[in-house]
């Protein structure tokens, strides 16, 4: 499958793969969309994602869409470092000028990337936030990790971020557990932006929020993506989210990319039968 050419990408992903269980080269041939499964019937291994290639340019948001179990979150988590990839090559331009495959880094170096190179916003705020800590304290965490040691400056930065993500400032010193789902998600976004990372990964950022709250959060994310010019990857099963946030997207099914297209083109004229099914489902 040909991939759309991106000049000087910020994120470059080549042959990313992740399987669970034992490896048998033949199992790659026995799984995927043609076989209708990601689970190999011989080895019982799961090929969660295989042969994933894409580039993301500065200021661009790439969508990854697919149903549950299609491997889209696996791809994102392999890049984030939450899941160890089985194979592949991922380079980030802001890190060592893209000369290092970050999949080769040890876990400690991977965590370093999360401080100011790459941030993740999870579907569940409990994954990205410490719920027993105040909204301000959650933002202080990445700031102190990056070496901030001035209490006043940390407060100012937290205030600025919470204002930007439309969290009422009088809630800044309340613990996040007492916040509503939508507000938790806004705090999570504020925290993700604390050290101005050039790369933002969003994993189902509005799933689980009710429709009106979700659209508010979605609006905020769209504004931020435009304003900050970060390279972003947005994973969602919801074409509404993909349509609103991304210019280009991948469609994944059973652990493989089945289509790579401009988002509006895909919605108008999906090629792969699975894409057609997804688009049809989203349009009804």
């Amino acid at each position: 499958m040909t991939s759309i050419h991106v000049p000087s990408p910020i994120i470059q992903v080549r042959n990313l793969g992740k399987y669970y269980g034992n490896f048998d080269p033949a199992m790659i041939e026995r799984t995927g969309p043609e076989h209708g499964t990601a689970r190999d019937h011989v080895t019982a291994s799961i090929v969660a994602a295989w042969g994933v290639n894409f580039d993301v340019a500065a200021g661009e948001a790439l969508g990854i869409v697919g149903e549950s179990g299609s491997g889209k979150s696996t791809v994102l988590r392999c890049i984030a470092g939450d899941v160890a990839a089985s194979t592949g090559d991922v380079r980030l331009a802001p890190f060592e000028d893209g000369n290092v495959n970050i999949l080769d880094l040890d876990p400690s170096a991977r965590r370093q990337l999360r401080i100011n190179t790459l941030s993740v916003v999870y579907q569940d705020p409990a994954e990205g936030l410490a719920l027993g800590v105040t909204a301000g304290g959650n933002i202080a965490d990445p700031l102190t990790a990056a070496g901030w040691r001035n209490f006043g400056a940390i407060r100012d930065r937290a205030r600025e971020l919470l204002a930007r993500t439309e969290v009422p400032l009088d809630r800044m010193d309340d613990i996040v557990r007492n916040f509503s789902g939508g507000m938790r998600q806004r705090v999570q976004i504020a925290r993700a932006l604390a050290n101005k990372p050039p790369i933002l990964l969003l994993d189902e950022p509005t799933t689980g929020l009710d429709a009106s709250v979700a659209s508010g959060v979605l609006d905020l994310i769209r504004q931020l993506l435009e304003e900050l010019q970060v390279a972003a990857i947005v994973v969602s099963h919801d074409f509404g989210v993909i349509e609103m946030l991304t210019e280009r997207c991948l469609v994944m099914q059973h652990g493989r990319v089945v289509e790579d297209a401009l988002t509006d083109q895909l919605l108008e004229d999906p090629h792969h039968p699975y894409s057609q099914k997804l688009v049809a489902a989203a349009r009804t």
Binding site: S108, R149, I154
Partner: protein
Amino acid sequence: MTLEATVNSSPTTIAELVGHRTTETFALRDEESKREIRRALLQAVCIPGYQVPFGSREMPVARGWGSGGLQVTLACVGADDAVKVIDQGDDEGVNAVNLRRLVTMSTGIDETTEVDEATLIQSRHRIPEDDMNENHILILQVPVPEPLRGIERDIRELARMHSEADYSRMWVSLYEDKVRNGVITQSTGYPCLVASRYIVATTPIPRWDIPRLHQSKFLTLFGAGREKRVYAIPPYTDVEPLTFEDVPFEVESADGATCRLCGSSESFLVEMPGKQESWSCSDTAWCRRQRNT
């Protein structure tokens, strides 16, 4: 039983066993187990602030009553040493007296209340007010050696945080403390960064004594018997209490208070139990000397 039989056979009754034990072990414990502690201490000195596990044994004092400090003292003591033991700042505290007796009775070394004369000073809560030097080893009895215990319970995660010097959550807890209370409230066990690398719990000493640890001339050994850890601050090592640039580290103070016995306002003062506004020096040996000179 003939005399010959007694000499040649192993003891079979307790009465015989008692008769067999002709020499007391120096410093209570066998040489092998003391050597094991000294190995752990050497590692602790080599990696300032790093918590080294050691084989904490049952002692004649209960865990939580200074068994860690006692094991360190007994591992370090030699025939030429003189020992001072204080509880709070008091040489006459019941626990201090008991521990000191145990050390002197099992070694025959001298005991003293004077810092000048002591080589080993075991303490709970305080560093003596007097100047200490390269001839001193300060041994602190530690209840909770893990400075991050309050923010993380998983021991593997704690090990990871220390190994990567990933201390941002410690900073967040200081931030939260300041936000909630306006000041950083932690008093004893204030977290300090040792040699710009490991965070240690300076438990059990108050904030007052923390500046004394920075670039100290003396060696400080921390022993936690219940938690089976030792750690160390070698002489001439940087010890920085964690604090924000714009929130100065402050020690405890009792405004305008003076010791009711010696009149000093320069020492660490404690309030007399049950008596408001009646203060006295916590370091009793120092206070006594102030009165006599």
